[in-house]
Amino acid sequence: MTRRRVSWTVMLGIGMVALILILAAVAPWLAPFDPLRMAVGPRLAAPQAGFWFGTDEFGRDLFSRVLCGARLSIGIGFVAITIGLVLGGVIGVLAAFSGRWVQALVLRALDVLYSFPDTLIALALVAFLGPGLSNATIAIAISLIPFYARVTFGLAAVERPKPYVEAARLAGVSHSRLLAVHVLPNISQTLIVMGTLGFSSAILSAAGLSFLGLGVQPPAPEWGAILAGGRNYLTKAPWILLCPGLAICLTVLSFNLIGDSWRDLVDPRRRGRS
């Protein structure tokens, strides 16, 4: 039997994500300079040997800052997406399998939240919670809940009337077991795909909040924060904006590449028949 052909875009996505994750993991050892140390070189120096991405207004090495920033940006994205996916998923599945009135109530509430842009909700929450790394993460996570609840609800509502779910009910399976053992495994693949695709928007939100000064606080090297710091030198030192911008772009792109084709890779129904 031939295995499924994996398209080159997926392979590229996987390769890039793996590379980014490895770089983020070994960043402290790989970085040529301490990302926080000032005046390791001249101020606002253009990219050159020794300072590959150039330096910022304090003479910090941008390459080291972008490299170490990967940890923060990806970390925030990962934590936020996990919280948002789990909480949204639980709400969605429960709503799909609850009675008519509860369902209507939850759905209308989600509709109201869903009508605001994620970032706006995150902004409002940070305004309420106060700026900072963990508050920004929590805010992003909460802002993602309506979307994932809605997606999960849709997926679970499709499964609910299927005969295999009804058969499990007839077997005497409890409500919680029905959801955990029967429904979740059948929708989890799609949810993971949605999570992978949402990962990029979480990273963007994190960068956005930091850019506005509401997320990670200076001098911590988060991508959005670096962007924010560089905006005053747009004409004099465009590399301060370009380098972290490119990092965000590449990371978002590679996660999207994987997300798009993830489903084909993990679906057991598509595995070669024996």
């Binding site: 039997m1 031939t2 070669g272 028949r273």
Partner: protein, 342 residues
């Protein structure tokens, strides 16, 4: 091929449709194979020829190949010829093919809903084909569509023409499909499981309609079905297919009363007739005759006769060579090394 000649209904008359040694291969990474493995038959005016078999026997693939509607890839015609009133269908270009479909050969499918466009009124859908193929004016097109709907037993064609597919019942939709196919007066109608999705009372009406086509318009109908009851009532000749081969071809009465192929015999034995048998509580019904096993999947068709693993009469030769479709009586051909004889 020997098969074609030996199963001609009326030698001397020119057939509408001849299929000779048709072979359709399906490519699927490691799981491909011959869906149609050398099928030959001829369809004459004024007869209903039934292609019968279970899922995977190649009957629908044969019909789609005749219409040149095979999904390609993965399916590909690798051998054979198909002629409709002398025209070589496989040699036609796209434009000629479009002229042929509908005009000279019509097709109706199992689920009429999927073959009707949900956002166009019935009148619009019917007139499209008429305008394209017959180049008639607006008034003539509408009159013709109306007449066609009337012909299939629709009492108020004008109202139906203004309706949309979802407003009609399944039986009405199938009538509309048949009317649309008939309005172009094609010589051949291919009906692929036309009544499988319909209720039994509606099925009876659609079958009457097909019989009417044959008897009143002299059309040739290729009826694809899995239901032997439908075959018995409607068809004139029957070709039983198994794993891509025609294994038996005969007039319906002969095939059903004196089947020569063990598979045909098995299908008939499995078929349940409505009989008033007393079934007192506490008793259980008698076991039905079955054909053990299942149709071998496309990629695992054995050499020799594909039915031999399920056949009680199999002999050594069955494993080595696929038997050719050979004559065993007038208009009766069978592909078996050890057929039943009277």
């Amino acid at each position: 091929m020997t098969g074609t000649a030996s199963t001609d209904a009326a030698p001397g008359r020119a057939p509408f449709l001849t299929v000779d040694d048709l072979e359709v291969r399906i490519e699927a990474g490691g799981g491909g194979g011959l869906a149609v493995a050398g099928v030959s038959f001829a369809l004459y005016p004024g007869e209903i020829l039934a292609l019968v078999g279970e899922s995977g026997c190649g009957k629908s693939m044969t019909a789609l190949a005749v219409m040149r509607l095979l999904p390609s890839p993965p399916a590909r015609i690798t051998r054979g010829t198909i002629r409709i009133e002398g025209t070589d269908v496989l040699g036609l270009g796209r434009r000629d093919l479009e002229d042929l479909r509908g005009r000279r050969i019509g097709m109706i499918f199992q689920e009429p809903m999927t073959s009707l466009n949900p956002v166009l009124s019935i009148g619009r859908q019917m007139s499209e084909g008429l305008r394209r193929h017959l180049r008639l004016g607006r008034a003539a097109v509408l009159a013709r569509a109306e007449a066609a709907l009337h012909d299939v037993g629709i009492v108020d064609p004008r109202r139906v023409m203004q309706q949309f597919p979802h407003q009609l019942s399944g039986g009405m939709r199938q009538r509309v499909m048949i009317a649309a196919a008939l309005s172009l007066e094609p010589g051949v109608l291919i009906a692929d499981e036309p009544t499988t999705a319909l209720d039994v009372t509606v099925q009876a009406q659609v079958l009457d309609l097909l019989a009417g086509l044959r008897d009143q318009h002299g059309s040739g109908v290729l009826l694809i079905t899995h239901d032997l009851g439908v075959v018995a009532e409607t068809a004139d000749r029957v070709a039983v297919m198994y794993a891509g081969h025609i294994v038996e071809a005969a007039p319906v009465a002969v095939a059903l009363q004196a089947p020569a192929h063990p598979y045909t015999q098995g299908l008939i034995a499995c078929h349940l007739e409505v009989t008033p048998t007393a079934r007192p509580v506490g008793t259980v019904p008698p076991l039905l005759e079955t054909i053990p096993g299942v149709v071998p999947p496309l990629h695992a068709r054995p050499d020799g006769c594909p039915f031999r693993d399920r056949c009680r009469r199999a002999i050594d030769r069955c494993a080595q060579e696929m038997p050719p479709l050979a004559s065993v009586g007038s208009n009766h051909a069978v592909a078996c090394w050890k057929p039943f004889h009277d």
